[in-house]
């Protein structure tokens, strides 16, 4: 039987694609409001700090960061191939590494709240 690692990289991609489809636009909208000078109440330092202090929120944020970065990395990998870049192993290694590093950094910062 052929052994494939495709489900391992594809599973988080599908989960991340669904998650980002549901939540990313509204999250971008929140920071867009902040960028326009109408920051929502949640983005005030005290409130956001307290919000992220709860372990359920920490886990959720880490999960959102991981799935968002992983699905973006996977899609970018396929896009590189579509655009004629055939060094797939190198591209995949770099992109997945960036996704994991970003997740690792987010987890590190989350532990400080």
């Amino acid at each position: 039987m052929a052994i494939s690692n495709k489900p391992i990289v594809w599973g988080p991609f599908a989960a991340g694609g669904t998650l980002t489809a549901f939540v990313t636009p509204v999250l971008i909208l929140l920071t867009l409001l902040a960028a326009l000078g109408h920051a929502p109440d949640l983005l005030a330092y005290d409130r956001l700090h307290a919000f992220l202090g709860h372990w359920v929120v920490k886990v959720a944020v880490a999960g959102v960061v991981f799935l968002s970065l992983w699905s973006a990395a996977h899609r970018l990998r396929i896009t590189c191939y579509d655009l004629g870049v055939r060094a797939d192993v190198a591209v995949a290694t770099v992109l997945y590494a960036v996704a994991l590093a970003g997740t690792g950094a987010a987890v590190l910062y989350l532990t400080k709240f």
């Binding site: 599908a14 694609g17 669904t18 980002t20 489809a21 549901f22 939540v23 990313t24 636009p25 509204v26 999250l27 971008i28 909208l29 929140l30 920071t31 867009l32 409001l33 902040a34 960028a35 326009l36 000078g37 109408h38 920051a39 929502p40 109440d41 949640l42 983005l43 330092y45 956001l48 700090h49 992220l52 944020v61 960061v65 968002s68 970065l69 699905s71 973006a72 990395a73 899609r75 970018l76 396929i78 896009t79 579509d82 655009l83 004629g84 055939r86 996704a99 970003g102 950094a105 987010a106 910062y109 989350l110 400080k112 709240f113």
Partner: protein, 133 residues
């Protein structure tokens, strides 16, 4: 004796010209490029987490930084790409997970429509809970 080889193998040229050959291909690439903005915005938020962890002064600097014109433009473009990703993803949902009840398949429009409805409710709920209005 080895045969004299004078082959001229066909090497398929790899180009990205195909993207503009048909509007459908262009829409596909626009969808795929959404990953740059979703990924880029997420990395921006990781930096925001770092600033928040450092304290109120660093967080205020972050909020000030995202008010720059370049950041506003990035947010607007990213919002457009993210929404397009949602639109394409929900329209694909009936193909990815067709739902059969009894002998009949649930109409594709019903499955996609349910996703859009949940999306709308979720978006309104997040905006309300975050105190955006």
């Amino acid at each position: 004796m080895a045969e004299e080889v004078n082959r001229k193998p066909y090497v398929r040229p790899i180009t990205s010209e195909w993207i503009v050959r048909h509007p459908r291909y262009l829409r596909y690439m626009v969808r795929e490029f959404s990953c740059l903005f979703i990924g880029g915005w997420t990395l921006l938020m990781v930096w925001g987490l770092k600033q928040l962890a450092e304290g109120p002064v660093a967080w205020a600097a972050f909020l000030e930084c995202i008010k720059s014109p370049a950041s506003v433009v990035f947010h607007l473009v990213a919002l457009g790409f993210a929404a397009y990703h949602s639109y394409t993803w929900f329209n694909l949902a009936p193909k990815a997970m067709p739902l059969q009840i009894g002998d009949d398949f649930v109409p594709e429009a019903a499955i996609a429509g349910a996703h859009f409805a949940v999306w709308a409710v979720l978006t309104a709920a997040v905006l309300y809970l975050a105190g955006a209005f």
